[in-house]
């Protein structure tokens, strides 16, 4: 079963063409990692998938039945099914952790407050944040904030999760705890598309690695194929550069 199908998607910002007819298919329970230089279109692709950006051409299907790119799509309905976590956490600073997490379930899914609270506390417990429920985001470390952001997205029980360089803003010491959270989600079978610069992690967690270059997926394969014996010269160059 296909969770996401991206077909020939184009997207430009002004005169700058970021996606140039990109194709991508993600199956159920699959973890797909997008790698590529800054500006290669990883973030833009993720944002097109949950409708935060509108495409210029092409089509994106969720579960073979919901066309994100149709002219009259209800994007709120798309976003109820697709969770996203950003590089800069984007927690709501005026709300406690628990309120951050229950806002979506209460207002969008119309869960009763008690049920939303229970769901949030269960999730916080699983990610080692049980004692942070009543704290405000600015009292948490970066790693804790990012885990709260993951829990906030999970509380909507999305069928697909997008991670947009979620460790790039973190102190190196805090990267591990966030990546552990992602591993936990993979072990539960959540379908994940993530953009990252953490190559070791990509190698460890990915079912498939896609190298984005020039607005298309230039090369894709298992981590062993991409990191072990990349076919494309551009992929080799990128991997050499990022490994320093």
């Amino acid at each position: 079963m296909t969770v996401v199908q991206v077909e020939q998607v184009w997207k430009a910002f002004g005169q700058e063409s970021v996606l140039r007819g990109i194709d991508l298919e993600v199956g159920l329970h699959e973890v797909v990692v997008l790698i590529g230089a800054s500006g290669s279109g990883k973030s833009t692709l993720l944002r097109c998938i949950n409708g935060l950006e509108t495409v210029d051409a092409g089509r994106i299907l969720l579960d073979d039945d919901l066309d994100v790119t149709a002219f009259n799509t209800d994007l709120d309905a798309v976003r109820r099914r697709v969770g996203i976590v950003f590089q800069s956490y984007n927690l709501f600073p005026h709300m406690s952790v628990i309120d951050n997490i229950t806002l979506g379930p209460r207002k969008v899914l119309r869960l009763p407050a008690a049920e939303a609270q229970q769901r949030a506390r269960d999730l916080l417990g699983r990610f080692g944040l049980a004692d942070k429920a009543d704290e405000y985001p600015d009292r948490l470390s970066g790693g804790q904030q990012q885990r709260v952001a993951i829990v906030r997205a999970l509380a909507m029980q999305p069928e697909l999760m997008l991670f947009d360089e979620i460790t790039s803003a973190l102190d190196p010491l805090l990267v591990g705890e966030v990546l552990d959270a992602v591993r936990e989600l993979k072990s539960e079978g959540l379908t994940i598309v993530m953009a990252t610069h953490e190559m070791a992690f990509a190698r460890d967690v990915a079912d498939r690695v896609c190298f984005l270059d020039g607005g298309v997926v230039l090369e894709q394969g298992t981590p062993e194929e991409i990191f072990g014996e990349p076919r494309e010269r551009r992929t080799r160059e990128f991997l050499v550069r990022i490994r320093g």
């Binding site: 309905a77 005026h94 969008v108």
Partner: protein, 294 residues
Amino acid sequence: MTEPGGASVVAARAGSTPYVDPARVRYRQRKAWRDAAIGIVSLLVTVAVVAFIVVRTPGWAVVQETFFSPEAFAESFPGLIEAFWLNIRIFLIAEPLILIVGLSVALVRRLKRPIFLPLRIVATIYVDVFRGVPTLLVILLLGFGIPALQLQGAPDSVLFWGVVALVLSYGAYVAEVFRAGIDSVHPSQRMAARSLGLSSWQTNRYVVVPQAVRNVTPPLLNDFISLQKDTALVSVLGPIEVLRRAQIDASFTFNYTPYVAAACLFIALTIPMTRFADWLQERQRRRRGPGASV
């Protein structure tokens, strides 16, 4: 300087208590006393010099009699307080309405859908007009103009239209304050809310407006303080509020002390608000963290 490695240093190192060089502690105490003493002396000298200059001016005796007469003060004060209650009521009624008008107009001006274009145009014209016309003029035009129309069903109380004029005039200012506040919330907050599936309206209601209001509370309080004073402008329509009362008293006795008394009443009302605004601003400054006190 004491020698590093003394007994207290060793003790501090063993536990988790902070350690401060005793010489530095003494220096800080001395500096605190000296700062306080300099402040007090400087204040006393300034007051003395100003008082000396004022009292020695040729007209002082007359001014003291006409503006600072204890008898006139005592005589007019009860009536003034009674009249001042009207100012307070005007303020208490106008203020919530101003907040509602201001926030609504600010939100309307941010609507993007083409269907709302007429609303947006009306909101923009409203803000342009009422920020451009002096409040006093708005009060005169509405207070005398609308009752004169003898509209069916329109209240003919000048007080009513005076309050409406204040609401319209201040609503335009407050709308701009709110708009700045809404713009001050980072777009990524809106993006995060929308990506949870919240609608545009829900995003405003739960994420953007609460943060915007926090950001603009100090400037809003500033407008409140200004409004407290401008309740006196309604006096031009005739209602006997405190300024009107003072005018009447003064014209009977040819003594201007009631004006000073009225001023004291306004100050008594605005000072707590001003201190509160200061405190809020200070708290916000401190929250922004280190460097803010440099």
